[in-house]
Symmetry: C2
């Protein structure tokens, strides 16, 4: 098979031996694979793949067709359309994934959407639903709503019946504001408007320390801040009296470091909550642009340049 | 009845009209009532009593005998020994409490212990068990272990089967170290020894910001910091990357602001977990000193002076 390959910090399209599925694993012929921030770090030599995954093939999510199954697999068979978060190696002609982490791709879901769905929606769902326990009728702030995880979070929160306040840096960009409203945001604000838009039951923080400091005084009783991105800074000054007074919590997490069993729970919870909406087409994966896998270097550069709304997805040749 | 009464910042022993129990309430002839930090604040004119409680009679906990019951009470009757957290007015000859918040005082439990039990043990139990979800086998740090809540927390954590690391300012005080070991601490350390005593699954923070900053890098995966005291400072610098990496949470709360229903849950959870241990005498309320209620002024001054191990408890004449 061919795969996107990291060679001295440059991405090339190189031949590798075909992988084989072990017990409980699926061999997937990959059709589409989204790019994520961690891939850029890995290209630079940081954030190495966890043990058991190819060291030189990036890719944290994929969608494709099962072409072989390992011993003991139960749910999926050859020919089934699946998508999954993976520890690495997703941007390749073939990839091996544990069956426990795979989701069915509903009929009618485009490959490019399926390739960009797993990472962002798993991250957003785990943070909003599993960690923050977001309920219908609660007001949630999504801080950094324009990115892949942000647009996923806006939709998942709206699907859950929450009132969604989406915060972005520049509300002058009418196209972004329109997209967020269409995805389910009740209002779209700048960070400066946080104080007059609360109180918030849940705050999903994708930007970092400034967002945590901004929202803390505007939490409702029992408010929960979940941090999953710190691009704008990691050191937050936290007023513990405000935490106590609101009976609040500040928590955070990452997905990649979790065990296979933990990732299987994340996938199962996500699928249970979204399978119907995906089949009906009421959840959308905004895709900014697609590139062939052989042009991964250009695709990563486009991703790194920023300013896009939605995912950059690689397509197999 | 007579009650401890705040008169221009001074405590006097003055006559008041007898209170009457309303629906769902118990009238208690108070025998013993502990002093807490909030009483000192109230004496100074800060931290006023919540609506429905006497404005000039302090006292957040009490133990005594039921002498009358309001309409619709079910569990307790005249002559029963009860103890409870209350919104205020506990340091008096008579006090009215909601039946839902009352705990039975087991035979053989001394009045002075019962008078000093409810506030500290409710606070510690709610934080450790309900909020942090402390489980058997986990390692917990109690930061500020020598005080009333700290000694309660050490015992409750040990009762739950946790490994208890008690942190105090001065481990040179052999008497304090001995008490903490007797109450169930596996080790007694100074805050400087936190880095070599972890990783911690749970950290109960009774001191404030410095403790939060100290323990954060030494949390186990899924670690939980619960803050219920900020005497040493409320502004903590929190490294959000450390929170994400450990999949940690920082939360906080206060008891006094809760609704009657919420306080009833706290009392029920505490009683379910401790009734047997209390009856067997295996939970101890360290009492540093007792004073008659008529000498409340001296008792508060003793409390404010610090350096004691255990509660200061007022006894009815």
């Amino acid at each position: 098979m061919y795969a996107v390959t990291i060679v001295d910090g440059i991405l090339e399209w190189q031949e590798h031996p075909d992988p084989l599925p072990g017990p409980g694993q699926l061999l997937v012929q990959v059709t589409a694979a989204g790019i994520n921030g961690a891939d850029l770090l890995q290209r630079k030599g940081f954030y190495p793949a966890p043990p058991g995954y190819p060291v030189d093939i990036p890719g944290l999510e994929l969608a494709g067709t099962v072409v072989a199954t390992g011993e003991g697999t139960r749910r999926f068979g050859v020919g089934d359309r699946v998508m999954a978060v993976t520890g690495g190696g997703g941007q390749a002609g073939l990839a091996v994934i544990p069956e426990s982490g795979a989701l069915a791709v509903p009929d009618g879901m485009a490959w490019e959407s399926a390739g960009g769905f797993p990472e962002a929606f798993s991250t957003a769902h785990d943070a909003l639903v599993t960690q923050a326990g977001l309920s219908a009728g609660e007001r949630v702030l999504i801080s950094g709503a324009a990115g892949g995880v942000g647009t996923a979070a806006v939709q998942l929160a709206a699907l859950r019946g929450a009132e969604v306040v989406a915060s972005i840096r520049d509300t002058g960009r009418g196209d972004v504001v329109d997209v967020l409203h269409r995805l389910g945001a009740t209002s779209v604000i700048t960070p400066d408007e946080v104080p007059v838009s609360g109180p918030f039951d849940v705050s999903l923080e994708l930007v970092g320390a400034p967002g945590v400091e901004q929202v803390l005084p505007h939490l409702a009783l029992g408010g929960r801040i979940v941090v999953i991105g710190v691009g704008a800074g990691a050191k937050a000054e936290v007023n513990l009296l405000a935490v106590m007074g609101a009976r609040a919590s500040i928590s955070g997490s990452t997905l990649r470091s979790r065990t296979e069993t933990e990732k299987a729970s994340v996938a199962a919870a996500l699928e249970a909550d979204t399978a119907r909406a995906l089949a009906e087409g009421s959840l959308v994966v905004p895709v900014a642009e697609t590139f062939p896998m052989s042009e991964a270097q250009a695709a990563y550069d486009r991703f790194a340049a920023g300013g896009k709304v939605g995912k950059i997805v690689l397509l197999a040749p």
